[in-house]
């Protein structure tokens, strides 16, 4: 498979504090990978640095063969790197449809017909957005806002879709709806990175996973094998004691490694 995104020795920090410490991984076209781990592990930092809103301290990020280092966020969006941010970052005074149109801001010269077709595709994937198309984003429920954030991102026609904690603050039923949409996107061949605290959910859609802790990848592997991993169980169940046992345990745990 061809690599879409390749990350080598990426380090990101806020001043002195290092949030992402020398991590390397790659994502192939059509693949969904997930980063799981507790709060403050650096998951959001990782995505924000890939988006270009945070400067990387060192390392290289290559997307489709191009070094991203000097590119501003809008240039990255133009290349198809699009994020559904953790805090959604919507525009409270604009309508749902405005959000979707702005999602396609960089494709505004493609004409009305294409824009209308793109809107219809989003409405087919997330029918609730069609009902609410004229409503202001600030008046929507949390789940609807999350759908707007997903829809807005998709309007940019992403090559790489990054989802930051899509389940945060949502009722289980709504979360399910969102993840069903993600599943359908994956079936269309979308490449993605999904960051989640809810590891069970994340591993259910991802092909591969990485466990991130204080800026380091401490475990990685296929989604199925990670699900059995005691580290992962500990990380998302928040069972600190069991985790410490696993750390000091002698049984072999798949170490963090660069893989295909």
């Amino acid at each position: 498979m061809t690599k879409l995104l390749e990350i080598a020795n990426l380090t990101v920090g806020y001043g002195e504090a290092i949030a992402i410490d020398d991590i390397s991984f790659s994502v192939a076209r059509g693949e969904f990978v997930t980063f799981i781990g507790p709060n403050g592990a650096g998951k959001t930092t990782l995505l924000n640095s890939l988006m270009g809103v945070l400067q990387q301290t060192s390392g290289t990020v290559t997307f489709g063969g191009e070094d991203l280092k000097a590119l501003k966020p809008e240039a990255r969006v133009a290349r198809g790197i699009v994020i559904v941010p953790e805090r959604r970052e919507l525009f409270p005074g604009l309508s749902v449809e405005d959000h979707l149109r702005l999602g396609a801001f960089l494709r505004r010269h493609e004409g009305r017909a294409k824009m209308a077709a793109a809107l219809e595709r989003i409405y087919a994937l997330l029918p609730k957005l069609k009902e609410r198309r004229k409503q202001l984003a600030g008046t929507l429920s949390g789940g609807e806002q999350q759908m707007v954030a997903v829809g807005r991102a998709l309007m940019a026609e992403p090559q790489l879709l990054m989802l930051d904690e899509p389940s945060t603050g949502l009722a289980p039923r709504i979360t399910e709806e969102i993840f069903e949409a993600i599943d359908r996107l994956k079936a269309t061949g979308m490449t993605g990175i999904i960051v989640e605290q809810n590891a069970h959910l994340a591993l259910s859609v991802a092909d591969r996973g990485f466990v991130l802790e204080v800026g380091n990848v401490v475990a990685s592997g296929g989604a199925e094998s990670l699900r059995q991993d005691p580290r992962v169980l500990a990380a998302y169940l928040g069972a600190g004691d069991r985790y410490r046992e696993a750390m000091t345990g002698t049984e072999t745990i798949p170490r963090a490694e660069e893989e295909g």
């Binding site: 988006m51 809103v53 000097a70 501003k72 966020p73 809008e74 969006v77 133009a78 699009v82 994020i83 941010p85 959604r88 970052e89 919507l90 525009f91 409270p92 005074g93 604009l94 405005d98 149109r101 702005l102 999602g103 801001f105 960089l106 505004r108 807005r152 991102a153 940019a156």
Partner: protein
């Protein structure tokens, strides 16, 4: 008595509308870029003096400011050539075309001796881009600076532009022709045609901004950048461009305000600062984020100004600026009530 009250009312409304364009500029700039632009009034001065030059058949000094700014812009963005020479040549070519076009339009307008309205349009064309250039020189390099840094910078810009104004135009006041001389008696009050011109222009400007914001994608992008800068970046909206656009539109509104005001008070190099501050007092009522409240604010400022000019003219400015204190207290209690 009624005559006086009516007169003051008309006068206050006229003043208020002039400041309204200022307040509009300040709110637009602040919401999109988080800059409290103390220098906003300088565009009032530039607009007025440019119009004065054009009406008297002189090459306006603003043209040289503009061309100088475009050259500086090309120099500052020289780094583009290393990254992508195609886009750099397009960009530099665009700057050159803009400079040549400004020169051609100005010469043409002077040769044709356009009427006041035409000259206003030309002056607008010369002053508005200065807003975008000043954004490029001051805000663009440090987009995430704190509000207080931007305030200090804008004070510096205000002083520099005033200095340039003094250099170009000297300290003499310049008379400026109104759009239409004379006026009409409406009942007991004489209303100059210029007041109607101010009313119509202010309404057109506000209406235009509204239509632009609501019915174009670029306008929506401007609103989006104002509501959530990060979210706008995630949409691929270049926030530097929307910032420059906000500065450009604000410069245009303020310049128009100066051109409308100048016939009433004559134009000089230091007229802008006072007007800018009065627009700011009005805008403060809306916390520099709320258009309708800011409009209400400038109307109160205008009314208070004309009343105090009548009752105690020596204290006019003192009274107007004192208004800032109750406004800030009111904003503060409101903010606290909302925080609860």
């Amino acid at each position: 008595m009624t005559d006086t009250v009516l007169f003051l009312l008309v006068d206050g409304l006229t003043n208020g509308l002039v400041y309204a364009l200022l307040a509009l500029s300040l709110v637009l700039v602040f919401t999109v870029t988080r800059v409290v632009n103390i220098a906003q009034g300088e565009y009032v001065m530039l607009g007025a003096l440019t119009l004065a030059d054009l009406l008297q058949g002189r090459m306006p000094g603003t043209l040289y400011l503009l061309i100088g700014g475009l050259v500086l812009c090309a120099v500052l963005d020289a780094g583009r050539w290393r990254r992508d020479w195609r886009r750099a040549s397009l960009y530099t070519g665009g700057l050159i075309v803009a400079g040549v076009a400004a020169l051609a339009v100005t010469r043409g307008a002077l040769a044709l001796q356009l009427p006041v309205i035409g000259m206003m349009a030309v002056a607008l064309l010369l002053v508005a881009p200065l807003g975008a250039l000043i954004y490029r020189f001051t805000v663009h390099p440090i987009p995430n600076a704190s509000t207080i840094v931007f305030v200090i910078i804008s004070v510096g810009v205000s002083m520099s532009v005033q200095g340039l104004g003094l250099l170009i135009w000297g300290a003499n006041p310049y008379p400026v022709d109104p759009i239409a001389a004379g006026g009409v008696m409406m009942g007991p009050v004489f209303i100059p045609y210029q007041s109607f011109a101010i009313l119509i222009t202010a309404l057109l400007a506000m209406g235009g901004l509204y239509l632009f914001s609501e019915f174009t994608l670029i306008g929506k992008a401007l609103q989006a950048s104002a509501m959530n800068r990060l979210g706008a970046q995630f949409c691929g909206i270049p926030v530097n461009l929307t910032g420059a656009l906000a500065f450009l539109l604000a410069a245009a509104f303020s310049a128009v305000s100066g051109m409308l005001l100048a016939p009433l008070i004559t134009a000089n190099y230091e007229m802008g600062f006072m007007v800018g501050l009065k627009g700011f007092v009005g805008g403060a009522m809306g916390g520099l984020i709320d258009y309708p409240l800011s409009l209400l604010g400038v109307m109160i400022v205008g009314g208070l100004e004309s009343t105090s000019a009548y009752v105690a003219s020596a204290y006019r400015d003192v009274l107007v600026f004192s208004l800032l204190i109750p406004i800030l207290l009111w904003r503060n209690t409101r903010a606290r009530a909302e925080a609860r």
